[in-house]
Subunit: 343 residues, 2 copies
DNA sequence: CTGTTAGCGCATTCAT
DNA sequence: ATGAATGCGCTAACAG
């Protein structure tokens, strides 16, 4: 039996009677030594169970690790069950895996990038992190950063035109100036609860996709000559089972009952669809509903959902490719209006 | 304006006119210096934008990183969309996040642990990695390893009794010795395709959960005096949209058409449910179907699915807790027989 | 083509 | 309570 030994570059070099630089070169710079020598060394290493330079040391020395952090908007726990985020992660991971880059999942609830920044080559950020402190750090960090669905003044990002998309889909749902409309917003406020929102002039309109979408809806309302009731902008902090069904109930309880629901996510729209079915409200005859995202389930349900399809997987691939290629550009990618039976 | 400087422990120590050991202690070992001194140092660091020791260097020096690799059975791309795997990841990440440990996602298709082993404190492995080479490495690696849904002869693992669970649920679906039965297997073979499986005596029965489940089904068949047709054990490599619907079609095309489908995953069972509906086959009158896993969708569909509920999130939490606590035990956790309308 | 040297940034003795 | 020295494992210059 071979005694289990923990080899290092140095101990291997000593064992083989060559300098450590030569062993290092055998692994990292094939051109720096003869082919025969190189192969002999690699073979000897394999026999002894030395599988190459310690990556942690290599990382300290070279400053790169082949690891990228995927910074999520929310906790890993939440994001991993969100169909839109999952699609995005699929896209990212397919590109990274093809490039032999490893993926570190990083919660948007963390206080600091500190615990990981020295381990990774950079950051792909999906959605504005819930913890605003992270955003500030991302702005100034010296490593590569690609932001998706938000911007931080750096020049590599991937977005869609949320305002125009929202305008487009809303225009398909609105019919007459007398329509009673409700807007079911997602993260319009930082509040951790379901609530109504007063449209304030000082809404920070540039930042979040929620406000971009709100602007799109509002433009469509104007275009149709519709006045939105004061109390018909709603907010939930996430599209979860926890909030979406309750939101649907409250909105459908409001008087006069809205005839059109503009929903900032498909999951919210689906919850509304289910609540309507439970109450025997006919969609789209008595209630028109539009969503946002284009998740699969929206096309499997009855009636099918009218929505904006944003190809999240493609977004992920693009973000990862920008990262890998070190390209610096603000990419704006296309969306599709997907008309279903719900409007 | 402050000039952007990249501080190190050493440069900070020089700036403050103390030794680097003192700065190090200020961050890592509060008991090694006076409270006043410590606070003065920390404050000075914060003012200058030094947020603590470089983690990569720290990791090299201490040998720990606060990162754990989650080794998946398949590609990240696939696992992230699988509802069972997602639940598991939720459980794992909730515990890790609470313990301030970061999560590295690692594909089961990778050839080596090498690229990450030096960066992480250990491995949580969810399902036997598709690449068998990884399994061999996991067996001998010196870092901590927790395996879930498989075993590698190490003494920390989390499993359920797949054989007994399969027996239990099959017993609920089987009615008479004349029942025509089909088994819809998942990863019974390493083949990357949909195919029939000949029950071979030399099946590697101990290893995979697929074979444990098969044994459970077979025991139930015996108990009911049912003979399974030679050609009614099927296999697919994954529970995806790509394979499950095709499997359902082929099975329902086979003659004589089975009256009972024992499915090794809920996604497969759901595909069968849909295909049956499309053909106007009544469930459970003309066709009984049971699944395995207990995903949410199985309780939302019509008819609801009879299945084995394994709380995957709980599995994840347990695995992560075993990891964090460094406990060494082979845990066997409970499952629930969940009777729905499909059997 | 090969070997020697000097750090990467830090934590830990062991002195004082 | 604090400081000087050593090395974690490796790679990039440079010298030969």
């Amino acid at each position: 039996m071979t005694k289990p030994k923990s080899w290092t570059l140095k101990s291997i070099a000593a064992e083989l009677g060559v300098s450590n630089a030569t062993v290092s070169n055998a692994f990292n710079r094939p051109d720096q030594l003869s082919k025969a020598r190189r192969e002999a060394i690699l073979k000897a290493c394999e026999q002894r169970g030395y599988f190459g330079p310690n990556k942690a040391a290599q990382s300290l020395r070279k400053g790169t690790s082949n690891i990228v952090a995927l910074v999520l908007a929310d906790s890993v726990e939440y994001m991993v069950s969100d169909p839109v985020a999952s699609s995005f992660m699929r896209g990212v991971s397919s590109v990274l895996e093809a490039n032999n880059i490893n993926l570190l999942l990083f919660s948007g609830n963390n206080d600091h990038l500190n615990n990981v920044v020295d381990f990774v080559d950079g950051f792909i950020c999906y959605g504005r992190p819930r913890n605003q402190g992270l955003v500030e750090q991302l702005k100034t960090i010296t490593k590569q950063v690609v932001t998706v669905d938000f911007d931080i003044g750096r020049n590599t990002s991937v977005n869609i035109d949320n305002e125009q998309a929202s305008y487009d889909i809303a225009m398909h749902a609105l019919r007459s100036p007398q329509d009673h409309v409700a807007i079911l917003g997602l993260r319009l406020l930082d509040e951790e609860r379901l609530c109504r929102v007063q449209a304030q002039p000082n809404f920070d309109t540039s930042q979040s996709i929620a406000h971009q979408r709100l602007r799109g809806y509002q433009r469509a309302l104007e275009a149709q000559g519709i006045t939105l009731a004061d109390d018909q902008i709603w907010n939930v902090p996430e599209s979860s089972e926890r909030y979406a069904p309750r939101l649907a109930k409250e909105v459908l309880d409001s008087v006069p009952r809205p005839e059109v629901l503009l929903c900032m996510s498909d999951l919210i729209a689906l919850a509304a669809l289910r609540e309507a079915a439970a109450r025997g409200i006919h969609v789209p005859e008595q209630l028109r509903i539009v969503g946002f995202d284009g998740i699969d389930e929206g096309q499997r349900c009855v009636p099918t959902l009218s929505t904006i399809h944003q190809n999240s997987e493609e977004k992920g691939r693009l973000a990862a490719n920008l990262f890998v290629q070190k390209e610096r550009q603000k990419a704006l990618i296309a969306y599709q209006v997907q008309l279903g039976e719900s409007s």
